[in-house]
C-alpha cells in the first residue's frame, strides 16, 4: 500500500482555526478542508456520509474546551465522536479514523500539520475496507462470496 494516498476530510471551526490566515492559501494546501461555524455543527450523519463517499478518515478541529462561541458545541462534537466511533467499529471501520482536536490556531498554520499527521496514521492503517454496495442486478452475485 506504499502509494496509497488517504482521503481525509477535515472540518475546522472558523472561530478557532485559521480566521487570521489566508483562506485561499490554506484551501490550496489542504484537500477536503471544510471550515464551518462551530464544530458542534458536524453531525454524526455527516461523518458517516463522508465514509460512504469514500473518505478514509475524518478530522474535526474545534475550539478549546470551555471556549465555544456557542456554549458547548465543541464538547457536543466530542461526545458525538465518542459514540460514533463505537458504532463505526461495528461496521468494521477502525475508530481511529475519526479524530477530534479541541484547540485553537488563528493563523491556521497548524491545520496542514494536523492533516499531515493524521494522513500518516491513515496511511499506516490502509484504506477503509470497501464493500460492494447492493446493486439490483447483481445482488446475489456480489453477495455470494
Amino acid at each position: 500500500m506504499s502509494n496509497f494516498e488517504p482521503k481525509l476530510v477535515c472540518f475546522s471551526c472558523k472561530f478557532g482555526w485559521g480566521y487570521l490566515g489566508d483562506e485561499a492559501e490554506l484551501t490550496a494546501q489542504i484537500k477536503n478542508w471544510i471550515p464551518i461555524i462551530c464544530s458542534g455543527k458536524v453531525d454524526a450523519a455527516h461523518i458517516v456520509d463522508a465514509f460512504k463517499g469514500g473518505a478514509d478518515g475524518v478530522l474535526i478541529l474545534g475550539c478549546p474546551e470551555g471556549d465555544c462561541h456557542y456554549q458547548d458545541g465543541n464538547f457536543e462534537a466530542r461526545k458525538r465522536v465518542y459514540l460514533l466511533r463505537r458504532v463505526l467499529s461495528s461496521y468494521g471501520i477502525e475508530p481511529e479514523r475519526v479524530r477530534i482536536v479541541l484547540s485553537t490556531d488563528p493563523e491556521g498554520k497548524q491545520i496542514p500539520n494536523y492533516v499531515r499527521e493524521m494522513s500518516e496514521a491513515l496511511r499506516r492503517l490502509g484504506p477503509v475496507k470497501r464493500i460492494r454496495l447492493p446493486s439490483r442486478e447483481t445482488a446475489g452475485a456480489t453477495a455470494k462470496k
Binding site: L83, R86, I131
Partner: protein, 321 residues
C-alpha cells in the same frame, strides 16, 4: 361481474408475524377477501409458485411482500412477483429496512456458519459438514438456496412501490393501505403509507419530557422499574422515539417498553442511527471524556441498538471485513 383484483401475500425471510398481522384484521380480512382474489399466500393458502409463473406479466394488482432477502430463493420469488405485479408493497420492517434479521449485517456469513454449524455449544457435527448449495447423495444432486453474504431490504433487490413499516405493521395502517389500493387512491409511488412525524410527536409521555434532557446515567429497561407515564428518556432509559417514524399506535409505550425503532427513520432521514447519536450525545450530562466513556461503554452493542431494524438500509450497510 367485473373481475376482482388479484392479490398476492408472500413472505421471504419473514417470521410469520407479518402474515399473522394480516390475519389479525379479523372481519376486515373477510371483507377484503370478498373484494379481491388471492392468488398466492403461502402461510394461509395452497397456491404454488408455478401458478404465479403461469400468470401474465402485471396480472397481479398488488403483491404484499414481507421478510428480508438473504438467499437466492427469496430473491427469485421477489423478482417473480415484481414481474407479475402492478404494485409491490414492502410490508413490515424486514421488507422495508431488513428488519431484525438485518442485525446479521454486523457479522459475516462465515462467522454465522461457523457458529451455527461448528462452535455453538449445542452443535454436534463430527464430520464438520456445512450446508452446500449443491451436494450429491446416492448419485442424486440435492440443492439448497444459496445463503448470501448479507441481508437485503426488498428495495435493494426489486423496485418497490409502497412501504408499510412496523414489526409487524398495525391493523389500522394495513387496512387503510389495502383500501387505498382497492380505491385507487394512492400517494405518489415510493411513499411510506404511514405518518411523517417522529414518534415523540404523538407520544402521550411527551408532555413529561423536560426541555433539555440531562442524563447522568443510562439504564436498560430490564434494570429498572420504569414509570409508566413518564418519558423514557427523561428516566434515563434509551428510547428511539425521537428518531423513529410514528404510526405504530404507541403499542410499546402502552406496555411500558421504550421504542426500538421498528417504524424506521422519520420521513426524509436515511440513517436513523447516526441521527440518534447526535441527539443522544447532547443528552449526556457529563463533564469530561472520562465520564462519557463510563456512561457509553456500559451500552453493549450500541450499533445493534441504534440499527435494530434498519442496518441493511443504513448508510454504511454492513460490516467490512
Amino acid at each position: 361481474m367485473a373481475t376482482k383484483p388479484k392479490i398476492a401475500i408472500c413472505w421471504l425471510g419473514g417470521c410469520g408475524g407479518c402474515d399473522e398481522a394480516v390475519v389479525d384484521l379479523n372481519e376486515a380480512v373477510l371483507q377484503v377477501a370478498d373484494a379481491v382474489e388471492f392468488v398466492l399466500w403461502p402461510v394461509a393458502m395452497d397456491f404454488k409458485y408455478h401458478h404465479v409463473e403461469g400468470m401474465k406479466d402485471k396480472e397481479i394488482a398488488l403483491s404484499i411482500i414481507n421478510g428480508h432477502v438473504r438467499n437466492c430463493d427469496h430473491e427469485e420469488v421477489a423478482r417473480l412477483l415484481r414481474q407479475k405485479s402492478q404494485l409491490i408493497l414492502a410490508f413490515g420492517a424486514c421488507a422495508c429496512f431488513g428488519g431484525t434479521p438485518g442485525l446479521a449485517n454486523f457479522t459475516t456469513k462465515e462467522d454465522i456458519f461457523n457458529w451455527v454449524y461448528r462452535d455453538a455449544p449445542t452443535v454436534v457435527n463430527p464430520k464438520g459438514n456445512y450446508p452446500q448449495p449443491k451436494c450429491k447423495v446416492d448419485g442424486k444432486e440435492l440443492t439448497l438456496p444459496e445463503f448470501y453474504g448479507q441481508v437485503y431490504a426488498l428495495s435493494q433487490i426489486i423496485d418497490v412501490d409502497y412501504y408499510l413499516p412496523g414489526c409487524p405493521p398495525p391493523p389500522d395502517l394495513i387496512a387503510s393501505a389495502v383500501n387505498a389500493v382497492l380505491a385507487g387512491k394512492l400517494p405518489p409511488r415510493g411513499s411510506t403509507l404511514a405518518p411523517h412525524k417522529a414518534l415523540c410527536d404523538t407520544c402521550e409521555r411527551n408532555k413529561t419530557k423536560p426541555p433539555r434532557i440531562a442524563l447522568k446515567d443510562i439504564k436498560r429497561i430490564h434494570e429498572v422499574e420504569a414509570n409508566p407515564d413518564t418519558c423514557f428518556l427523561a428516566q434515563g432509559i434509551l428510547c428511539l422515539g425521537p428518531a423513529t417514524r410514528s404510526g405504530c399506535g404507541d403499542v410499546c409505550m402502552k406496555i411500558n417498553i421504550p421504542c426500538r425503532g421498528c417504524f424506521g427513520p422519520v420521513e426524509g432521514v436515511k440513517d436513523a442511527g447516526s441521527k440518534f447519536i447526535s441527539a443522544l450525545a447532547s443528552m449526556l450530562d457529563v463533564e469530561d471524556e472520562r465520564q462519557v466513556r463510563e456512561l457509553v461503554d456500559k451500552l453493549d452493542d450500541l450499533a445493534g441498538y441504534l440499527y435494530r431494524f434498519s442496518a441493511p438500509v443504513s448508510t454504511l450497510v454492513r460490516k467490512r471485513v
